[in-house]
Subunit: 480 residues, 2 copies
């Protein structure tokens, strides 16, 4: 057992080297873990050890048991889901965060964590061109941010009666989002007690963006039937295809009908650091709340979700509790962030954002994001030129949705099967990792080019592997 | 900007030394930050930097700007709130976690994180003598665990109608907890839509433990008035004074009336590692859900909240969502923990628990916890012997609630003021950090002896400072 700082120092240097080695050799690991269900579990003893074990023995088991079960999210050939990026600067900051072991629930328990959070949230408003009257707070995930938005909308809509008396009988509160909206909306709708049937899924246009006219019709229909429209969730960069809902039109409808507007820009929000991308956010000042995740595309370790609101008093009133043991002499003069979300305990998340923003500089972030957009653009051009592949959605950011469509296959069902098989083969190669989605019933491959340390050659290599693997699959299946 | 692993390696070794230095010199820092509101903020530039800055320049600002605003939660003279413990082993594991940057939302995105979590949750059942039929999952905080409990109870009680249709009209669902219960219960009651007025606060006995007879009366009264008792939250180790609610009696009442029983052992749960402490948990097998936080007293960095349920299917059914982009071939064969709580994204939290349990060994944890209990016992004996101090609650674990009661002061109001002043003086000395609570209207000091690396001399020194400071305060105030 490590018992003093000198033993810690020795192990810390070993760990520093192990981690630097990992970053050096990360490209040599299979991107996606190739283990089978239960394989790791079977290698872990069923009883905990009674006696202390040395860190180096634990590390030996780490290499032997844990590493084969790691899917390398920081691998430059990881193109699945959305990234959960880190960066060298962010990792160092996380080390410091772990060492300080702050509990940033209220100002008094960590003035530095509280005030650094306030400052970096202000910085990010400037960096991303967000409305300057907004106020920001860090949450862990977009799920928590969206839940906060829905709860605040619920309380505003019911005059804070739900918090005090419970969900009003036959309130008929309705939430609206597009059919392409993220699953966390439905989860929040259930948690907050609205009920899934009161989540109105609004149709999308051919670009998978919310149809604003259909939204207004849905609101009007609900009003005529006695429902109470409570909140609209619009997305900048849907998870399926990074579609962008029409923010201004949606905002104008929300203002007209006095409905809360929450914007989910969890992934694509980072792109707003580029002035040329801000047209996607036109009308943002009409929103009541907004979330984007620096832990996705801003090179900052998970978890760090930036949540902005136009009226922090409503947020605080929704979550505030004040037990005796948390009363302090500074209350009212400072931000006590435990009243700004679900959790009471809070990590010192602002530190890693401070490290990332300063070590990259805003120009460094801009440059990296721009490169990612260019890579996606390059890939979509290759797909556009190819006779055997089809682009399945507009490439707004750094996600490309496409599929293998050799001309001899006509039936939709066969194409879906073929692409499922292609994805499985690509991912089991260990050379790259893509994920999938369904767009209009079509099974599509999703390839994201937004890893912190991705280079153009990684994208070119991925495209080469996709071409080879699809050709081989097609030959085996149809030409054999 | 750090651009490659070799630069990272250089900075990593510097950071390792800085952090080892911190642990060496931690005793020399003022425990509680002495800055004033706004002081840190005013030292942070209003604009983010455009150009990249070196890590060493950021670190220089860290020392100059951030460190003075740090309240040192890992300081051995930190006795406030409940601790948010770490340990050398846990910090090293957090470094590795940061480097791997796993996103453990589903098995497929990190088989190792998923299966190691399953194993350490099994280990902890054995370590703490928890019912072996329970199933565990890691949440971030007890707030999230308790919210999960209340939501599952809500769904079970309403036949999953709330999730699908919304909170039923006039459901009259009631939640019960003692007047000493943690604020997170009220927060969860509000979030889940029950409404604060449906949180029935049950009186406590002279030891601040829930009065089981009063609970049964409240349930019977509610039933006769048409309410639906939904969930009881009992606490093992309340935040105010670590009182222990009668688990078996409460459990029997819950069984009798078909009410969900959730046990909050956030802090004191760790003490159950000692067989001689398990009498506090007698009847635990009657509970439907249970939470304890390794990040409080089990030497594991925040956040890590262990949540156990007797029926995982109810939990999963409460939270499950299944969008296309998360469908995998392994579904049903493995645990996809994103369906076990609020958040979709999940950190690799099991790693630090694995490091802590193995590096301490269960005997090492036992020994450390036993020492903490002995220190609290020592302190309570000193207070018992003193003419000027009064013990204000039973010392069940490692928290001592007491106050300064010089015999010449009789009025309750004056005693409260005096102790408020005493606490402010103690904390502004920087030499130690205590917090406070109100027990039966009496303002009490709370001193916890549960820091990972606390020694008997720290407690003796704290007692010496308390004696000196209280004497000086008394002399100045009344003898001047």
């Amino acid at each position: 057992m490590i018992k003093d700082p000198s033993e810690f120092r020795r192990e810390a240097h070993r760990m520093a080297d192990r981690i630097a080695d990992y970053f050096e050799e990360i490209g040599s690991y299979p991107v996606k873990s190739q283990v089978k269900p239960g394989e790791i579990l079977s290698l872990l003893p069923e009883q905990p050890p009674a006696l202390p074990e040395e860190i180096q023995d634990i590390m030996a088991d780490f290499e032997r048991v844990i590493m084969p079960g790691i899917t390398h999210w920081q691998h430059p050939d990881f193109h699945a889901y959305f990234p959960a990026n880190s960066s060298y600067a962010s990792v160092l900051a996380e080390w410091l965060t772990a060492a300080l072991g702050q509990q940033a629930m209220i100002w008094e328990t960590s003035p530095a964590a509280t005030e650094l959070e306030e400052r970096v949230m202000q910085w990010m408003k400037q960096m991303f061109g967000l409305p300057l009257h907004w106020t920001g707070v860090l949450q862990d995930t977009a799920s928590a941010s969206t839940l906060a938005a829905l709860l605040t909308a619920r309380e505003k809509c019911t005059g804070f009666i739900t918090n005090s008396e419970g969900f009003p009988s036959a309130s008929g509160l309705r939430i609206y989002a597009s059919t392409e909206t993220h699953s966390s909306i439905e989860k929040a709708v259930k948690i907050a007690g609205f009920g899934r049937k009161n989540l109105v899924k609004v149709p999308v246009d051919k670009n998978f963006a919310l149809d604003a006219e259909a939204l207004e019709q849905a609101i009007r229909r609900d009003l005529s039937e006695g429902f109470t429209p409570c909140c609209v969730v619009a997305t900048i960069g849907t998870t399926g295809s990074t579609a962008v809902d029409p923010v201004r039109k949606t905002g104008e409808i929300c203002r007209k009908y006095h409905v809360w507007l929450h914007i989910d820009a969890a992934f694509a929000g980072t792109a707003l650091i580029l002035p040329e991308m801000r047209h996607f956010a036109d009308g943002l000042e009409l929103a009541d709340s907004y979330v984007f995740n620096p832990h996705k595309w801003m090179f900052t370790n998970f978890d760090a979700s930036a949540y902005y609101v136009s009226d922090p008093e409503l947020l605080i009133r929704t979550f505030e509790i004040l037990p005796e043991y948390l009363k302090t002499r500074t209350r009212g003069k400072v931000n006590d962030y435990r009243d700004w979300g679900v959790a009471l305990g809070r990590r010192f998340r602002a530190l890693k954002l401070w490290f990332v923003i300063r070590n990259f500089g805003t120009e460094g972030i801009r440059e990296t994001v721009r490169k990612h957009l260019e890579m996606a653009s390059w890939l979509s051009e290759r797909i556009g030129e190819s006779d055997d592949f089809t682009l399945m959605a507009p490439v707004n950011f750094s996600l490309v949705c496409f599929r293998f469509t050799p001309s001899h296959i006509r039936e939709a069902e066969h194409l879906n099967e073929l692409n499922q098989e292609l994805l499985a083969r690509l991912n089991s190669s260990g050379k790259l990792y893509l994920s999938h989605t369904l767009l209009n019933g079509s099974y599509c491959l999703r390839m994201v080019t937004a890893q912190t340390y991705i280079g153009q050659h990684h994208v070119e290599n991925a495209w080469k592997i996709i071409l080879e693997t699809s050709k081989k699959l097609n030959d085996e299946k149809y030409m054999g």
